[in-house]
Symmetry: C2
Subunit: 366 residues, 2 copies
Amino acid sequence: MAHDRSRDPVEQRTQRPRIADVAREAGVSKTAVSFAFNSPDRLAPETAVRIRAVADQLGYTPHPVARMLTQRHTMTIGVLTPQALSVIFSNPFFGAFSEGVAVAAEELGYGLHFISPLQGSLLRAMNRATVDGVVAVGLSGAHPEVEQIRRAGVPIVLVDSTALPEHGSVEIDDVGGAYAAASYIASLGHRDVLVLGVEPPAPGGPDPDGVTSRRLRGYREAFAAVGAVIPDERVIVGPASIEGGIAITDRAWEDGLRFTAVLAMSDAMAIGAMRALRDLRLSIPGDVSVVGFDDIDLAPHVDPPLTTVHQPIRRKGEEAVRALLTVVERRGQAKPEHRRLETRLIVRGSTGPVPKHRREVAGKQD
Amino acid sequence: MAHDRSRDPVEQRTQRPRIADVAREAGVSKTAVSFAFNSPDRLAPETAVRIRAVADQLGYTPHPVARMLTQRHTMTIGVLTPQALSVIFSNPFFGAFSEGVAVAAEELGYGLHFISPLQGSLLRAMNRATVDGVVAVGLSGAHPEVEQIRRAGVPIVLVDSTALPEHGSVEIDDVGGAYAAASYIASLGHRDVLVLGVEPPAPGGPDPDGVTSRRLRGYREAFAAVGAVIPDERVIVGPASIEGGIAITDRAWEDGLRFTAVLAMSDAMAIGAMRALRDLRLSIPGDVSVVGFDDIDLAPHVDPPLTTVHQPIRRKGEEAVRALLTVVERRGQAKPEHRRLETRLIVRGSTGPVPKHRREVAGKQD
DNA sequence: ACAGTCGCCTAAACCGGTTTGCTAAACCGG
DNA sequence: CCGGTTTAGCAAACCGGTTTAGGCGACTGT
C-alpha cells in the first residue's frame, strides 16, 4: 500500500522516477529504456529519441547504485590514509599528491572517494566504500589492513611503503634524496645537525622501514662517508606540519641541543624550524642552514627560499592511479606494477657554509 | 554455466563470497546471515555466533553496493566544485575547508566523495556519484546545475553563494570583512590601492554577485566613507594562487599602476603580491601595505606576517555538513538551513601607515 | 511459397543484499 | 490440556537497474 505511485500518477511521491516509470510512460519495456541510454543502436533511432524525450521530461536519471550493482564496477577509486582526513587535508604534501591522483582519475573518467578510519577502523571504512580499487598512502605494507583489503578482492597500490610483490606500488628514492641533502650539508662543513623526522603514520610502532627510517639511513650514510655520525639524540620526530616543526625545534633548543644545520624530512617542518630559529634570533643561513624534503609549491616562496629534496609529488599521485587502473581494468590479469621515481636536491637560499664563529652557537655538547 | 561456483566449491572462482555462500556453508537461509550482521538479536545467540564464524572464515563481507541499494542511503556525502579537482587540492583555502567537512563527516559516520566535472559536465559527474547529499562550494546559486541536482532529489547545501531559499547555505560576511580591511587601510592614510580579485569559478560570466563582487562592494563602501573611490582600472582579477598573485601584481606594475596598498581577496594572492613587490625592491609595509582575505594557516608565518580578514574556513566546512545532514537524515522534512558566519580583520605586520615619500612610489596617475 | 535473416523489441533472470510476512515449535499461565 | 504469546528461522518480494535469450513480423533470395 505504500506503492501507490505505481498506480496513481497524480498522487505520486516526491521520489525520483524509476526506469519502470519511464517505460510505462513511453509505452515500452524497461529493456528498451535501458537500451535508449546504453546502446541506442539497438533501437530504432526514433524510438530511442522518443524514450529519451520522455525520460528528460520526467527528469529520469539511472540510479547510480543500481547501475553499479549490475555493472560490477563503480568507476571510482579510493584514496586510503591511516590518518583522519581532518588532519590530512591541509598538509601541502597531501594536497599535491591528491592533485596528481585527481589529474589521472579525471583523465580516465574515474571519481574520487577518500577513505579514512571510521570509528577507528580502516576496514569498517573500506567496507562502506564503493570503489574499484584503492591507492593507499603512508600505509606500511606490513599493516594487517592491507592483507584484508586484498582478501576482499579490492586491488590496491601502495604509495611510499615498502613494496610487496603481491600489490602495485609507487615509491621514491628516499635514501638517495636524503643522502644528497646530507652530503651537501656535510660538504658545507656542517657536522652538528638536527634531524627532524616525520611521525610514523600509525602511532604505536617505530615502523621499521617507514619513510623516516629510510631517509634517516640516507642522512647517516652521507655523514658516514665523511667520517661523521648523527647520534640518536639528535633525531627527533614530530607531526609533519609547520606547527610540528616549530614545536620540536624549540624543544630541541631548550633541551640544550646546538647545531649549525637542520635536516627536516618534510618542507612543512623545515618551514616551522626556520620560523622557530628566527624567533630565537638566529639567521638563516648565516647561523643555521635548513634543508627540507618534498619541494612543495611554497618552498621557493618562503624567506629565504628553501633548499630541499625535490620529489615529484603530483606525478606520484598520477603514477599510482595509472598503476592501479591497469590492474583494475583487466580484473587481475595484469600483474602489479612497481614504479620508482627519482628525487634530487634543489639548492636555494636556506643553506650556506658553516659559520666561522660556530663555537658560539654550536658544538656545545661534550 | 558460468556459475559453477554455486555447485562446485572446489573449482570456485576468485570472486568474493556472497551471502548465499555463507548461508549454504552454515546451513541457514540468507535471511539468517543478514540478521547475523544487522540484527543479531533476532537470532539465537549461538546461531549468530556460528554464522559469524563461517562468514569470517570465508572472508565474507556484505557487498557495499548491494547494501546501499536496499537501504536507500549511501552514508557518504559529496563535495562538489565547478573546478577540476586537479586545480583545487593544493589551494590552501580548499584544503582547510575540506578539513572542516571531513571533521563533521567523520564524526557523523559519513564518507567523503569529491565531485568535479567529468568530461566537462558536472551533471555527468553527479549522476555517477553515489551520495546522500552534496556540499557545493563556489557554485553560484544561479548555476543551472544546481536546479538539476535538486530535481534529481539530492539535497544540497551551497557554500559561498548567494542563498536561495530552496536549499541550505553557508556563507560569510564578505562585505563586512572587506569593509573592515579597506577601512583600516584608509585609516592609515592610503588612497591609492590595488585590488586583486579572485577569478570567477565559472569562467565565462562576470558572476553578478559572486565572492569578488561582494568583497569589492565592501572595499568601495569603506573608501566611499572617507570620500575616496577605487576606480575600475585598479581592480584586477586572476587565479587565487601564489602564482596568480605574482603575475597580476607584476602586470599591474608594468602597466604603470602605482599604489601604496594592495587589497587582495585571497591570502594566496596576497602572498604572491608580497613576493612580486619584494622582487621590485619595494619594502612591506614600508613602501606598500598588503592585506589579504581568508587567514589561512600560513598567513602568520610569512614574512612579514600577513594582515588579513579572518574567516572561519574549517567551521564553514563543518557547518555545511551539519546543515546538509539535518535535511538528509529526515528526508526533506526539515527545511533548509541558512547559516552565516562572521569575519574579522586581523592586523599583523604587512600593513603600515602610508609612506611620507609616497609621491615617489605612487600617485603617478593624473 | 518457404526457409533464412535481420531489425526491433520484450519477458525473465540476475546483480547481492535487506525486509516483510509467516510458520512451526517452544513456552506459559490457568 | 488448551488457547495465546514468544522465539527462531525461512521463502519470497523487493531495491532499480542491465543482460540474456528469444519472439515476431518484414524482408530476401530462390
